[in-house]
């Protein structure tokens, strides 16, 4: 029988199989979308509004067209099909026509023979703007004091959650108002695409780095007024995504320029343009009030959640639902009063970023749990253990958590992880806050410890059927997989191979290019691809195996139910037959395509009640932080975590997700924020939008809790988002412990520590 050990030895499920794109990537041979090239290609570039809110009186492109080397200039007038696009509501113009609603909104695009020519062409386009006052304050969007800046109104969505006795007041009441700044995904692989028009203009091929090929395809086709199957997308290598590529950025512009010029068009954003060109994490303001018994038992949560969605709706509606349905955190709570808004403003548009609304909710509920601990005389660990959710408990939406829910175990196992050593007498400057800036010595440093625990939904919600498709072919002992699952760095490409190796007993697993030639895999987001695309690959491979077994069974007069895979052989579990898979599949092609669907979910009713989520994952974080309180500088020393992963399918890839997510959560805690003034970004560059460096990374000690999730096709939960969620409040709590400051806002800045 195939055993777990033999599976690992053969790089099947459970092994730290090496990724197939690893060698090309380390040698610089891996083709990212920015590396795509075609003969006769032109360079595209985008003109963007400098104003957050303005009427467009006129656009004069004549001077740009007159520049030698410029082949085309396009505006809203040139869009052949639908003038707008969007993931949920189609409210975002391909090019602004009468009005611009955010600084950075596309107004026109050019195609030219050299990027420098394109840049000069952009500078030559004359746009006559009538500047309007921008709506930049979320409350003005809610109270109606600012006129609608969009036909769909200034409130994108409002959702309440009302459950239980609304008059209940606890013996202990703690409250606070929390703010979360605008984080950016800041994926390194800048936006880039290559569009190739069909000779007769009846279609277009696009190489692009994105998260969901089919969703892009659908929106592009509508805007170009082409049948969907005439718009063919192939995934160009993706340099990270983290939610920032879910929305259309340059896709329609690139394809349209290609169709207009009848030549290949390459478009690529610089870093500054990238900040303008994609959506960001919603900045949020959250008021919370927790009611508890004197012994710390949580009884009721109240919350008012305001997410600033910026100019266009993107996925704000779904982000809001995630936020409001997670306000109680991973804790039992019977009574809830939540009111949540996702509003429109002339700030930069916001949408998906790893954590998707739960990051904001978690900062609020974990900050509250620490206040509750204080008020009840409990430790931060004990107040959380006391209220920890278990399988069978309910969310404040009334949904029963059927998933494995080892919250108490996450907390205990995190607590059991070793603490870091105390600072030595004469620490190397690089070990303490300020680093080589030599700002401090040991006597200036205080250490603090803080906790955060989180629940996160997996997959899409509210009735959305985000299925995934995969195809498996087996011939002559070699499996070939085909899927449209966007590999953005997370390692699905290696997981897919591992699945095929385990299910089919093959060693060689080839992967077809990732494209729209096969059905949708859904988005690489929501911690869903291991479950959904993994389920699809698993399903396709099982169908192939079924047919393989039938063939072997027929050839040997056996009941196929007796057959199994052992190593690279088909074996009769009740007899002596052993046939190598390569032999059993010689001269035949087995070919199956499978769609994996998760169970159905519901919309929420007007009281926010309903089974709107598919499944949940849990995680605990403990952060140890050194702070120089007089200067407000911080070094995160260690993050300990126990994460509920269901089943570890690839230990090396898994720890990579945990460590990577923790770094992003750390970024939000202490250094990452897009600073806005009057709707304009003040720091759209890596000089001033600070990402954690190797000297900022903490030591990570991690335990992966494996309680296989019965709903999940491979027993494994998604692991991408939880690592970045509760680490942020854990770090904030640690800084509070070291300094005694309240710190209701992240990112925590030096001046917040010094003067707060």
């Amino acid at each position: 029988m195939a055993t777990a050990t033999s599976t690992k030895q053969r790089d099947g499920l459970g092994a730290s199989a090496l990724r197939p794109d690893g060698i090309p990537k380390v040698q610089g041979r891996f083709a990212f979308s920015s590396d795509a090239w075609a003969d006769n290609m032109l360079w595209g570039a985008t003109l963007r509004s400098p104003h957050p809110h303005a009427r467009i009186r006129s656009i004069d492109v004549s001077a740009a067209l007159a520049i030698n080397g410029v082949s085309a200039v396009i505006t809203a007038d040139d869009v052949p099909g639908k003038l707008t696009y969007g993931l949920i509501a189609s409210d975002q113009p391909v090019f602004a026509r009468d009005v611009v609603r955010y600084a950075g909104e596309p107004v026109a695009a050019v195609a030219a023979d050299h990027p420098e020519t394109a840049r000069r062409a952009l500078a030559a386009i004359k746009v006559d703007y009538e500047i309007l006052a921008p709506l930049v304050d979320a409350e003005s969007a809610i109270d109606g004091s600012f006129p609608s800046i969009h036909p769909d109104g200034n409130v994108i969505r409002r959702q309440k959650i009302v459950r239980g006795d609304q008059s209940f007041v606890g013996d202990v009441v703690v409250e606070g108002t929390y703010e979360i700044g605008m984080q950016d995904q800041a994926f390194l692989g800048l936006e880039a695409a290559l569009a190739l028009p069909d000779d007769d203009g009846s279609g277009v091929e696009l190489f692009v780095a994105t998260q969901w090929l089919h969703e892009d395809q659908k929106q592009i086709a509508a805007c170009l007024d082409l049948p969907v199957d005439r718009v063919r997308l192939t995934l160009g290598g993706v340099g990270g995504a983290f939610g920032g590529r879910e929305d259309i950025s340059l896709q329609v512009h690139c394809c349209l320029l290609a169709l207009v010029t009848k030549r290949p068009i390459k478009m690529q954003y610089g870093r500054e343009e990238s900040f303008y060109g994609h959506i960001h994490r919603h900045p949020a303001k959250i008021f919370m009030r927790h009611h508890a018994d004197r012994d710390g038992t949580l009884r009721r949560v109240e919350a008012r959640v305001v997410l600033d969605g910026g100019a266009y709706a993107s996925t704000s509606s779904a982000v809001l639902i995630n936020a409001v349905t997670h306000m109680q955190g991973p804790y039992k709570c019977e009574i809830a009063t939540v009111d949540g808004y996702a509003v429109r403003s002339n700030n930069p548009p916001c949408g998906a970023m790893r954590g998707f609304g739960v990051v904001q909710a978690c900062f609020a509920h974990e900050s509250q749990m620490d206040k509750l601990a204080d008020a009840c005389g409990l430790s931060p660990v004990d107040v959380r253990l006391k209220n920890a959710m278990q399988t069978g408990d309910k969310l404040i939406t009334g949904q029963v958590v059927e998933s494995v829910a080892p919250v108490a175990r996450c907390i205990r196992e995190t607590a059991a992880l070793p603490m870091p050593d105390p600072l030595p007498e004469n620490p190397d400057p690089l070990m303490i806050p300020g680093g080589s800036g030599l700002t401090a010595q040991r006597g200036n440093i205080r250490r603090g410890v803080g906790w955060g625990v989180s629940i996160k939904n997996l997959m899409y919600s509210e009735g959305f059927d985000d299925y995934a498709t995969a195809r498996c072919r087996l011939a002559d002992g070699v499996a070939t997989l085909q899927f449209a699952t966007a590999e953005v760095g997370q390692g699905f490409v290696v997981l897919a191979q591992q699945i095929a190796r385990t299910v089919l007993g093959v060693d060689t697993v080839l992967l077809e290019p990732i494209s729209t030639a096969i059905g949708s895999a859904g988005s690489t987001s929501a911690s869903r691809q291991t479950w959904m695309s993994g389920g699809a690959v698993d399903g396709a491979c099982r169908r192939v195996r079924e047919e393989l077994f039938q063939r072997v069974a027929d050839a040997n007069g056996l009941d196929p139910l007796r057959l199994a895979i052992d190593g690279t052989d088909v074996v009769d579990t009740m007899g002596s037959l052993r046939v190598p898979v390569a032999q059993a599949s010689r001269g035949v092609v087995f070919d199956h395509t499978f769609e994996h669907h998760h169970r159905a979910t519901e919309e929420l009713d007007e009281n926010g009640q309903g089974n709107c989520h598919v499944a949940f994952a849990f995680v605990a974080h403990r952060a140890v932080v050194d702070v120089d309180p007089d200067l407000g500088l911080v070094k995160v020393v260690q993050v300990a975590t126990a994460q509920d992963v269901g089943r570890v399918l690839n230990p090396l890839a898994a720890i990579g997700q945990l460590e990577g997510g923790i770094a992003q959560g750390l970024g939000l805690a202490v250094m990452e924020e897009i600073v806005l003034r009057d709707g304009k970004m003040r720091n759209p560059s890596f000089t001033d939008y600070l990402l954690p460096t190797a000297l900022d990374a903490p030591t990570v000690v991690a335990t992966m809790i494996e309680e296989p999730e019965p709903q999940a096709p491979l027993g494994a939960k998604g692991i991408g988002e939880p690592p970045c969620i509760s680490v942020t409040p854990a770090i904030a709590a640690a800084i509070r412990a070291a300094t005694g400051k309240e710190l209701p806002r992240v990112p925590v800045r030096p001046q917040d520590i010094v003067f707060g």
Partner: protein
């Protein structure tokens, strides 16, 4: 535009650059004119290290080198590190230790780590971190990258001992 003409020596091979605009960075010329797209650009400001190349033995940001001034220099890109197309020990370690996710920061890091180990065969933890502090990775959180560098360092040390 002008008709700049100059020669660059990259990975041991002399290239002629014709009809170039003088303001082009070495990064741009490597990628768009010399057919060497292995070096990546993610910020154009020297803040991410993705564009790291070796120039006369020093690790520098190629986005900040004016290509027309890089004449008479020995330039090595990630493509030039391998012998006979085989991955170097550092490259192999990165793959084995899980130090590669999306891979965009990887070429710059590989060059920076080669530079580190070639001049300091026995770096400690903090030396490694400082040496790669100019290379931003958004995916890994650096944990597996440290492991990769330590693995390469230890392998070289073991090889030295024999």
């Amino acid at each position: 535009m002008s008709n700049e003409f100059y020669r660059l020596t990259v990975n041991g091979i002399e290239h002629e650059v014709q009809d170039a605009w003088a303001g082009e960075s070495l990064l741009y010329v490597l990628r768009e004119r010399l057919g060497l797209p292995g070096t990546k650009g993610a910020c154009e400001q020297g803040e991410c290290g993705s564009c790291t190349v070796l120039m006369d033995g020093e690790a520098v940001c190629s986005c900040l080198v004016m290509a027309a001034t890089a004449v008479e220099a020995e330039i090595t890109t990630v493509e030039g590190l391998s012998v006979d197309g085989e991955p170097t020990d550092v490259q192999q370690s990165f793959v084995e230790a899980g130090g590669v996710q999306c891979g965009f920061c990887t070429p710059g890091l590989i060059v920076a780590v080669h530079h580190l180990l070639d001049r300091n065969p026995n770096p400690g933890e903090l030396e490694i971190k400082e040496a790669i502090s100019g290379n931003i990775c958004r995916c890994t959180g650096y944990g597996r990258i440290f492991a990769a560098v330590e693995q390469a360092r230890d392998q070289r040390r073991a090889a030295e001992a024999h």
